[in-house]
Symmetry: C2
Subunit: 215 residues, 2 copies
């Protein structure tokens, strides 16, 4: 059965990005170590076409993110290209010629654009009809496989508010950001209940997977 | 070597109390399950003079809180009695005749009052000279044993901002509160760095202990 999953890094104080986010700085102001541990993992490097890297529980957990994955949904900020109509020459995303998604990726935006076929199985589709339309299209692309809501926080929160998320895995990193983008913000009242499915400890992050209980 | 420790329940979205906190409702609006699991633990029941209860990793972790503890510091809200001068008849706290602290407890308040000797080893001392004075007095009382900053969030954040905390253990409960009192709020910039000391998983809570790195 296809699941809708979220996997996000989050600080000890509940932020998934730091203060002063901007179109050219999607993570805002963060200490270098907040992301560095991910770049060093074997599974992350493999998804990004790089060799080597560190094995261990964090690599295993991050590697699961792309297992049985059939489609990805992200917000415009995660694709890039500013906030208005698409710039000329057209912005092809942060992710290089061979993006790490290796699935159809549905980009939620106000500005229509033709699909963009990249190397390695990634095709970006630009969805202007809102989050439910993006999920419908992702379900068709994914079939029996899972769908990842990739972020940012605002997109995940919209899907949470709509009751459309099955699982949330938080990679709780030992940093305090003190401000920025908050997960679980403005998701309606009462908020959904959670159930702990699994916890994987590591020095880099505490990986906590929750099932979102949907009535 | 005496340590200054924090042990707090915190929601998946980073709140240690829910919205609408009030003098007679120190945890604000929270779902019943947010606290219930604690009341059921053997170690908690033991500290509160009750028999029975549930064994397991969460009981063990909560039981450590009072091990080697020599003094406790809490804010006025955790002691109770409103926010102004002490009421008549004098408020003796939320905690009954035999409070669960079993140490000297330094209550930070703007309103002086004579010490209050309770059963079971708890004596409340009322400190009007601020957080550093409360810690100095707690160090004298604790000797080689540890000092717990009991809360609420505002008191813990003041001690964090002052660089006076050694360890923080978060009992991350699988609930979304959506608002309320936040730990790590307004603690200055840059915030202190954290190091994961230990993680204990359980269905009730993910217990993450951090060392606070002090320069």
């Amino acid at each position: 059965m296809s699941k809708v999953r979220v996997h996000m890094m989050i600080s000890a104080d509940g932020y998934v990005a730091g203060p002063n986010q901007a179109p050219d700085k999607p993570f805002g102001d963060i200490p270098e170590g907040f992301l560095r541990w991910v770049f060093e993992l074997r599974s992350f490097r493999q998804d990004h076409g790089m060799e080597g890297g560190k094995d261990g529980p964090s690599s295993d957990v991050l590697g699961e993110t792309s297992a049985n994955l059939g489609a990805t949904i992200i917000g415009r900020n995660m694709f890039g290209g500013g906030t208005g109509p698409w710039p000329e020459p057209a912005w092809d995303g942060w992710w290089g010629e061979n993006p790490p998604y290796h699935t159809s990726v549905f980009v939620i935006t106000h500005h229509p654009r033709a699909p963009l076929v990249m190397q390695g199985g990634t095709t970006f589709h630009f969805v202007t009809a809102g989050i439910e339309s993006a999920l419908d299209q992702a379900r068709v692309a994914a079939g029996e496989r899972d769908i990842r809501i990739g972020g940012g926080a605002n997109v995940v929160n919209q899907y949470l508010a709509a009751g459309l998320i099955d699982e949330i895995e938080l990679h709780v990193v030992p940093f305090i950001l003190g401000g920025g983008a908050r997960l679980f913000d403005n998701i309606g009242s009462p908020p959904p209940e959670l159930e702990v499915i699994r916890v994987v400890p590591s020095p880099e992050a505490t990986h906590i997977k929750y099932r979102v209980i949907r009535d």
